[in-house]
Symmetry: C2
Subunit: 219 residues, 2 copies
DNA sequence: ACTCTCACCAGTGTATACAGAGAGTGAGGA
DNA sequence: TCCTCACTCTCTGTATACACTGGTGAGAGT
C-alpha cells in the first residue's frame, strides 16, 4: 500500500476516534516521524484531510484538527436531513423493492444483535451500513452519493460524542426498518418522512447524551 | 503567491474553460514544465482538482480530466435542486429582508445589462453571483454552503456547453428576481418553488442548446 | 502467423536537501 | 510595567534525486 494512503488512513482514524483532539496541531516532521513516512506523502494525506474538513490550515503554522461545536452538529443535521431525505425519496422511486424488503426483515431482527450479554455491535453497524450502501446504489446519482459520503465522515465523529446504549440502538433499528419498508413500498413521501423522523430522533439523542469533550494534551 | 496555488488556479481555469478537454491526460512532468513549477506543488494542485472531481486518477497513469455526460448534467441538477431549494427556503427564514429587496430591485434592471450593442455580461454575472453569496451568508450553515460551492464548480463547466443568449439571460434575471423577492418576503415555500422553477428552466435551456463538445487533441 | 516472454522505458511515488516566511521571545525604551 | 522592535529559530514550501511499478514493444519459439 502507498505510504500516503497509510498516513491518510492513520490520521483519519486518529481524528475520527478522538485520539487526536480538536485544536491539536499536526506538525509535518512530527507526524511523519510518528507514522514512519516522509514529509511528501504526509503532506498529501494532510491535504486530503483538509479538503474533507477534518483539519484546517492554521496560517503558516501547519494544520490543526477542526473542532465540532453544537452549532456544527445542528448545521450537519440540517444538511443531512436535506440530502438523506431526498436520497430516500429517490430510492423509493428507483430502487429495487426486493432488496429493501430484505433489509427491512433483517433490521426488524436487529434488536437481537444489541441485546444480551454479547452485543454484536459490529454486525449491527454493518447492517445499517448496508442500508446506506443500498440507498446510495439505488439513487444512481454519483454527485448526491458523494455529498452524502463526505457528510458521513463528520457524522462518525459526532457519533462518538453520544452514548449509543442498547435502548437507542433498538429504537434506531426500528426507524431504519421503517425507512427500508417505505422504500420497498415505493413511497417517496413516506420514505422521506421516515428519514426525517429518524434524523430528528438521532439528533435529539446526541444532544441529550452529549458530554463536552475534554481536550487532552498528553505529550 | 504559492506555486501550488498558481498551478491549481491555472489548471482549474483550463479545465473550466474547456481548454483542457475531458479525457486529457495530465502528466506531472509535462504540466510542471508548462506551468513553470516543480512536481511537488503540481501534485498538490492535482490532488485538489481530483478531490473536487474535475480530474480523476487513471490507475498509475497520471490523472485525466473527467468527462461530463448528459446523465451527469441531470444528476448535477437533481442535487442542485435539493441543495439550492433548501438554501432558498432557509434564506427566507433567516435572511435580512432589506438585503434581498435591494438585490431584487437590481435584478429587475438586469435586462438592461444584457441588451444593447455593449452587453455588460460581466456585471450581470457579478450581480447573480452576489445573490448566491447573499444566500450563502443568510443560511448560516457552513456545511450546506460548502456543498453548494463544490457543486457550482461543476456548473461552471456545464454553463459553457450552453449558448447564453440575451433572451435566456433576460428570462433568468426575472427568475432570479422572483427568488430574491420570495426571500425578502420571508416566504420559504415560495422561495424554494421559485428556485426549483429557475433550475428547471435553466436545465431545459442547457439541454436544448447543448452541442456535444469535440475533443481537441492539439499537441 | 500468432503468442508468450523479457527487457527497456516512461512516469509516478517517495525521500531528502534547501530556502523563505512567520511566529515567538527577549531586550530596550517610554 | 507595558509596548515595540528586531532577531532567531522552527516549520512550511519547493526543488530535485532516486526507486519502483506498470506498460509496451520487440524478439523468439511454437
Amino acid at each position: 500500500m502507498r505510504a500516503s494512503e497509510r498516513a491518510y488512513a492513520a490520521l483519519r482514524d486518529d481524528i475520527l476516534e478522538w485520539r487526536l483532539a480538536p485544536g491539536t496541531v499536526l506538525a509535518e516532521v512530527e507526524q511523519s516521524e510518528r507514522l514512519g513516512v516522509s514529509r511528501t506523502p504526509l503532506r498529501e494525506a494532510l491535504g486530503r484531510l483538509t479538503a474533507e474538513g477534518l483539519t484546517a490550515a492554521a496560517g503558516g503554522r501547519g494544520v490543526v484538527v477542526t473542532d465540532i461545536s453544537l452549532e456544527d452538529i445542528d448545521e450537519l443535521f440540517e444538511l443531512r436531513e436535506t440530502l438523506e431525505g431526498k436520497a430516500a425519496a429517490l430510492a423509493a422511486q428507483r430502487g429495487d423493492a426486493a432488496t429493501f424488503a430484505q433489509l427491512q426483515r433483517e433490521l426488524l431482527h436487529a434488536p437481537e444483535l444489541v441485546r444480551g450479554p454479547h452485543p454484536a455491535l459490529h454486525e449491527y453497524y454493518a447492517l445499517v451500513g448496508r442500508l446506506d450502501t443500498a440507498i446510495d446504489a439505488a439513487i444512481s446519482n454519483s454527485y448526491l452519493a458523494q455529498a452524502m459520503r463526505s457528510l458521513r465522515v463528520h457524522l462518525v465523529r459526532v457519533r462518538r460524542l453520544a452514548a449509543d446504549d442498547a435502548a437507542r440502538l433498538t429504537a434506531a433499528a426500528g426507524e431504519h426498518a421503517a425507512i427500508a419498508e417505505a422504500i420497498a413500498a415505493g413511497n417517496p413521501k413516506l420514505a422521506e418522512a421516515a428519514t426525517i423522523m429518524h434524523l430528528h430522533r438521532s439528533l435529539s439523542h446526541v444532544k441529550a447524551t452529549h458530554v463536552p469533550h475534554q481536550k487532552e494534551h498528553h505529550g
